[in-house]
């Protein structure tokens, strides 16, 4: 491993540690009261004290988020394929999709609660509804940008629409899909945590809300940090998948490194 490579791996950690150090220092120097902004040392101490409930609630949130995310991938892919493959569906569906995406999902949660009650289901639905849009758009873009010559080669061989979709459309849009997954997974966390905050009695969002109502601000921050950490973790998983599945799209980078 070269020094440059080692540095590249180390930098994110250094930046993270540095950020906490600045935060800690600022709290001490400016004597910020802990119920406004607790010191990271206090936050981590609280994290340790509450490790049981934190683990339980964050695992629940992770679980909810992943289910919502998987549903978003399935639904977003299906809608993206339909929109990208047929101009009729595109014209008909696109305005609706944009309208739906413009609705703040937090406004939807009460409605979902009326339909399904509070708890896990609204969180899953919110995560899914917020994450499917970038997936659908990216897949549709992948399909729309197929080289016309490639399509012509297939059509003149006698390929039908289905064959063109499976032999060119799908592989062509996988890099777009994986790029969108990285956005979608972080959006899923936003969706599930929002929903848990508004309408749940379990999950990290619920934990943070109840902590803040008891003015246990360090616990709120512990929850925030955990959500962020889970986001990074899932993002990394998506990156690994992306590298595996779409190596051909990264060829130039492979050549350099």
């Amino acid at each position: 491993m070269t020094n440059a490579r080692r540095l590249q791996i180390a930098i994110p950690w250094l930046v993270g540690v540095g950020l906490f150090a600045v935060w800690e220092l600022a709290c001490r120097v400016f004597e910020i009261p802990p119920f406004v902004l607790p010191r990271p040392s206090a936050v981590f101490a609280t994290m340790y004290d509450y490790r049981g409930p934190l683990l339980e609630h964050s695992l629940h949130t992770l679980f909810t988020t992943i289910i919502g995310f998987v549903l978003a991938v399935a639904g977003g892919t299906a809608i993206g394929l339909a929109v990208g493959a047929s101009s009729f569906v595109y014209v008909g569906l696109y305005p609706v999709l944009i309208a739906f995406n413009s609705i703040p999902k937090v406004a939807l949660v009460p409605v979902i609660v009326i339909w399904f009650g509070i708890g896990t289901i609204p969180a899953v639905i919110t995560a899914c509804s917020i994450a499917f849009f970038p997936i659908a758009v990216n897949i549709a873009t992948g399909l729309a940008t197929i080289e016309p010559e490639m399509r012509d080669v297939l059509r003149s061989l006698g390929a039908n629409r289905w064959e063109i979709l499976t032999k060119v459309g799908l592989p062509r849009s996988t890099p777009y899909l994986f790029a969108s997954l990285k956005i979608a997974i972080t959006l899923s966390f936003i969706g599930s945590v929002i929903s848990e905050t508004v309408a749940s009695n379990i999950g990290i969002g619920y934990l943070m809300l109840s902590a803040s109502s008891r003015f246990e601000v360090p616990l709120v921050f512990a929850g925030l940090i955990i959500v962020g950490a889970m986001g990074i973790g899932m993002y990394a998983v998506c990156v690994v998948f992306e590298r595996r599945m779409t190596r051909w799209a990264f060829r130039s980078q492979d050549l350099i490194s």
Partner: protein
């Protein structure tokens, strides 16, 4: 009514677009190609050569006139045609071998047989790669090949399923002179072996004279056939042939003819 010819283009016009913006790309163009004949189409840029290719394969519909391939009128994309364009359009997610086997997955009867007989088809593809000098490269991805190698693979993909009709739209245009001339010989060898009907669009008059039985010259847009000449040089033609006086004469005659037509 089909004539005896394999490809028959009769008084075909093609208009792109509608109203104000419409472009008359091809006007009243007629052309007959015999079965097993290799013809070249030359003409100035934008005269409608690529459009002609798309008309013949049914990728675009003629605005007026009729086109027959075999004894079928062309109204929709016809099946099983081999096509190669100036950029190789290989699929970057497939290896070279998988790329050139693509027609087997689409064209009958191969589509039906390839599941059972994969090994035989792979052997066939590897043999074809070897004839164009890509023996070791089947497992490589297209981006690991040079431009000339990609174009060889592209030609392989166009001919592997032994199409009755091969359409080449400037496939050698982006290559350096050495590679281009080498690929002429490769192309000729494949044609002599398989005797498909071939249509080659090119800007290069030497290329046209080297490969074709007949050369058609198309006018500036809207495209019409303004000149046609038969190349009576026996095959196989070699690079040596291109320096012989009669070859040079043919190329000169073509060039003269084109500049005459363009200045009138």
């Amino acid at each position: 009514m089909p004539t005896g010819n394999f490809v028959s283009i009769r008084n075909v016009s093609l208009i792109y677009g509608e109203g104000e913006d419409s472009i008359l790309a091809v006007q009243d163009l007629s052309l007959e190609i015999e079965k097993g004949e290799f013809v070249a189409v030359v003409g100035p840029s934008g005269c409608g050569k690529s459009s002609l290719m798309k008309l013949v394969t049914g990728l675009v519909r003629a605005t007026r006139g009729e086109i027959y391939v075999g004894d079928q009128r062309v109204l929709d994309p016809i099946r099983g045609v081999g096509m190669a364009f100036q950029n190789p359009t290989l699929m970057p997610w497939r290896t070279t071998l998988a790329n050139i086997m693509l027609p087997f997955e689409i064209v009958q009867p191969h589509k039906r047989l390839i599941g059972r007989d994969r090994a035989r088809y792979v052997a066939q593809a590897e043999q074809l790669l070897a004839t164009v000098g890509l023996r070791q490269f089947g497992g490589k991805f297209p981006w690991e090949l040079s431009g000339g190698m990609q174009q060889r693979a592209n030609l392989c993909r166009a001919v592997i399923h032994q199409p009755e009709l091969l359409m080449l739209d400037e496939p050698f245009g982006a290559l350096d002179a050495f590679t281009r001339e080498e690929l002429w010989s490769v192309m000729q060898r494949v044609w002599i072996e398989k005797r498909f009907t071939g249509v080659l669009v090119t800007h290069d008059l030497r290329e046209a004279a080297f490969l074709a039985d007949r050369v058609f010259v198309i006018s500036p847009r809207p495209g019409r056939v303004i000149y046609e000449t038969r190349i009576d040089i026996p095959r196989p033609r070699t690079l040596q042939t291109t320096f012989e006086p009669r070859f040079v004469d043919i190329v000169h005659a073509l060039r003269e003819r084109i500049s005459q037509e363009l200045t009138v």
